[in-house]
């Protein structure tokens, strides 16, 4: 086999790549492409939102008044903060501050948890009120036609987003575990970077969902 062509052998380097730089580039490119598919996945829901908002302008406006604005604002702040801390973790690991990076990651994961808790409280409210999607809708306060579709879009979009929060959180926990085992340093930190990228996407989707669902 001619897999090692004389260069220093990095334990993270797979046999089919020549250099670790090339491998890192490949992994990053793969992640960006994957994020692209995620954007299109949510894009379909945003399209649905646009179409139905156009059809049922009033109902959507009215129904959006009945979301808990403060829960939404808190969650937005929580998520933006977590994006900052995950970026800082990346900054720290590049400077070999593994402990600080770990602390920042833990904070990020906690933020994700807080987000999910607040979201589930919101969901419980909606369930109690009967502000449910489609056929299950029996919310007395908004009766305009199309209100049920607002909650369909609301639950689909925030539900899909919540799944992404859970996936992102699990990713970060895995990254944290490896970090604590000492796998990462300034010479190898790609998984942390990718976890952070994914987390930013989760955050970014929320930045669009929040004004569309809560504010306008």
């Amino acid at each position: 086999m001619s897999s090692s062509d004389g260069h220093a052998h990095n334990p993270h380097l797979a046999h089919h790549f020549d250099t670790i730089e090339k491998q890192d580039y490949a992994v990053r490119l793969g992640m960006w492409l994957f994020l692209g598919t995620e954007v299109l996945l949510f894009g379909g829901l945003f399209l649905g939102y646009t179409v139905y908002r156009h059809f049922y302008h009033e109902a959507f406006h009215e129904a959006s008044r009945h979301l808990d604005l403060w829960a939404g604002v808190t969650n937005t702040i929580v998520l933006i903060t977590s994006s900052l801390t995950v970026a800082l973790a990346y900054y720290e690991i590049k400077r070999d501050n593994a402990k600080r990076a770990a602390a920042l990651l833990i904070f990020t994961i906690l933020c994700a948890l807080v987000f999910l808790v607040i979201k589930s409280i919101e969901y419980t409210h909606k369930f109690q009120e009967g502000a449910l999607p489609g056929a299950h809708y029996h919310y007395a306060e908004v009766t305009a036609p199309g209100a049920n579709l607002y909650y369909t879009v609301y639950f689909l979009a925030t539900g899909l987003h919540a799944i992404h929060v859970i996936v992102g959180m699990s990713l970060l926990i895995w990254v944290l575990a490896r970090l604590l085992k000492g796998h990462f340093s300034s010479s190898y930190y790609v998984p942390l970077e990718l976890g952070g990228l994914y987390w930013h996407l989760v955050d970014l989707v929320w930045i669009f969902l929040f004004p569309l669902l809560y504010l306008i």
Binding site: H15, G30, G36, L41, G44, L47, L149
Partner: protein, 551 residues
């Protein structure tokens, strides 16, 4: 330099079968199921898609037999409806989409790049497992009662039918994931694992085609994933997203469906175009005419293909302005395809053509692609489509491209790369016989369907007026000829696996990079990383005076 040296050595010596190769380097079923070798994954894809093709083919034959008489023949209406749904789903999601990328893409792409593997070998294996999972769930739905929605899953029919739809939708969703990961893997592989000296203009045309295909897979598939999930949620949970009774819009579902499914036909056909480009160069022993035009037109088709979806919806009630825009954009796809066809024919011009079974398929392919492609332009011509929409004319057009073009390309590729994959040759005589049978059987099957469409017979009809019977009988007769051709292929290829003549490294004396290693290749592809020193598909001897001809 190294390129042709290695080749001439390989072709002059007596053919040898490498004692140790990727097929026998590790043994046992477990070594196959856990492999990350792109070649083994390709072989597993080959077996899987051929089983899917067999299943889909059996469904097709059953449908054709049912249509022999205007009334009920061998099955009930519901069985018929389930059968055409299965034929569509199995052929499209389990065969056409993964076939060429999964088999030849996986096998040849790293070899053509001079790489040891794809960029993410484990992800590649995961794609295969997702394919198996999706296939199992989709086919499991058949046992649980079957689905009768057609492969298009149009709401609100799909959300209100009493039959089981969810497993099929879930299966398609998972298959979509498999397709996305394969595309992602290939894009990264092409970007990062090219051998030294291989610039973008030195990629073989098959690689360009796979690249364009992968872009579509990555960008379009998430939308079908979302769409089928929304339909599934609607069916099970009554969310009202596409349900007019609850304010939803069923036409929105069609837009979302075709946003994927129109580009998806290019996911199926572009790899086929890539196979043709490579095979035609090897058999004409000549540079591909207009390399850049062929390469870029793949990207052009991929790009334009994203904006043409509305031509499936001319009679759905969308506005005439939209109809016009989508129709005009569809014409551009035709121009890109026309460029390719001209270049393939021009590649044969003044070549040193070696006649073989793959070339018979290519001749069929060229005729079918032009006819199928131009009838595609015809159905994108709005006023004509009003008559043809949802009739057998569209079915015939679609099969001309999907069977006439893609399956001919698949068979050409299968015969061309068979010795690469297994190190043995198939029987040339039988290959020629079956190739001719298939080309003729294909014409006999689908030309009557064009006429049925003209006469106004809608698709998905279990019972039809008597005046269409003669055409249906002709089509069924053609289908049995087609089936006969496939049976012959299966027999001689299986025979060749065990007893075929030893092929040697490069039986076709092809200049493709994939032929620069032994056949079958070593587990790690190349004993020495190849260095690329010349343009792809160059059939001039080193140092030879090259004659330039301008036409």
């Amino acid at each position: 330099m190294s390129q042709s040296n290695q080749l001439s050595q390989a072709s002059d010596d007596k053919p040898v079968y490498p004692a140790v190769n990727y097929l026998n380097a590790d043994r046992g079923v477990w070594s196959w199921l856990t492999t990350v070798d792109h070649k083994r994954i390709a072989i597993m894809y080959l077996v899987s898609v051929l089983i899917a093709f067999l299943l889909g083919g059996i469904f097709a034959l059953a449908l054709r037999v049912e249509l022999l008489t205007p009334g009920p023949t061998i099955m009930g209406a519901n069985t018929y409806n389930r059968m055409f749904t299965l034929h569509g789903v199995v052929m499209i999601f389990l065969f056409m989409i993964p076939a060429i990328p999964g088999v030849f893409g996986n096998f040849c792409l790293p070899l053509m790049l001079g790489a040891k593997d794809v960029a993410f070998p484990k992800l590649n294996l995961l794609s295969l497992y997702l394919y198996w999972t999706g296939a199992t769930i989709a086919l499991g739905g058949m046992i649980m009662g079957g689905t009768d929605t057609g492969w298009t899953f149009y709401a609100p029919y799909s959300t209100t039918t009493p039959m089981t739809v969810f497993p099929l939708l879930l299966g398609v969703f998972i298959l979509g994931f498999s397709s996305i990961l394969t595309g992602l893997n290939f894009i990264v592989t092409i970007h990062t694992l090219r051998a030294p000296g291989m610039g973008w203009m030195r990629l073989q045309l098959f690689v360009w085609a796979i690249y364009a295909t992968s872009i579509i897979q990555v960008l379009a598939t998430p939308v079908i994933g979302l769409t089928v999930m929304l339909v599934g949620i609607e069916k099970v949970g009554h969310f009202g997203f596409f349900d007019p009774a609850r304010g939803g819009d069923p036409v929105l579902m069609q837009h979302m469906f075709w946003f994927y499914s129109h580009p998806a036909v290019y996911i199926m056909v572009l790899p086929g175009f890539g196979v043709i480009s490579d095979v035609i160069a090897a058999f004409a022993r000549k540079n591909v005419f207009g390399y850049k035009a062929v390469a870029y037109s793949s990207l052009g088709i991929a790009f334009v293909g994203f904006f043409a979806w509305g031509h499936h919806m001319f009679v759905s009630g969308q506005s005439p302005v939209d109809d016009g825009a989508f129709a005009a954009i569809s014409m551009l796809v035709g121009v890109f395809t026309a460029i390719k066809v001209f270049n393939w024919v021009a590649t044969l011009y003044r070549g040193a053509v070696v006649v073989g079974a793959p070339l018979v398929y290519i001749c069929g392919f060229l005729f079918f692609t032009v006819f199928g492609g131009m009838t595609g332009i015809a159905v994108a011509t709005v006023s004509l489509d009003v008559h043809w929409h949802d009739t057998y004319f569209v079915i015939a057009h679609f099969h001309f491209i999907m069977v006439g073009a893609v399956i001919m390309a698949f068979l050409a590729g299968l015969h061309y790369w068979f010795p690469k994959m297994f190190g043995r040759m198939y029987h040339e005589g039988w290959a020629m016989v079956s190739a001719c049978l298939i080309v003729l059987g294909f014409m006999a099957t689908f030309i009557p369907q064009f006429l049925m469409g003209n006469a106004g017979l809608p698709r998905r009809y279990y019972i039809y007026p008597e005046k269409y019977q003669s055409l249906n009988v002709a089509s069924t007769a053609g289908a049995s000829l087609l089936a006969f051709g496939f049976i012959i292929i299966a027999i001689y290829l299986i025979y060749a696996l065990a007893r075929g003549e030893i092929a040697g490294a490069n039986p076709w004396r092809s200049e493709g990079v994939e032929w620069m290693t032994t056949s079958p290749p070593d587990k790690h592809n190349f004993h020495e990383t190849p260095v690329i020193t010349r343009d792809p598909h160059s059939y001039q001897q080193p140092g030879e005076e090259v004659e330039h001809v301008v036409i």
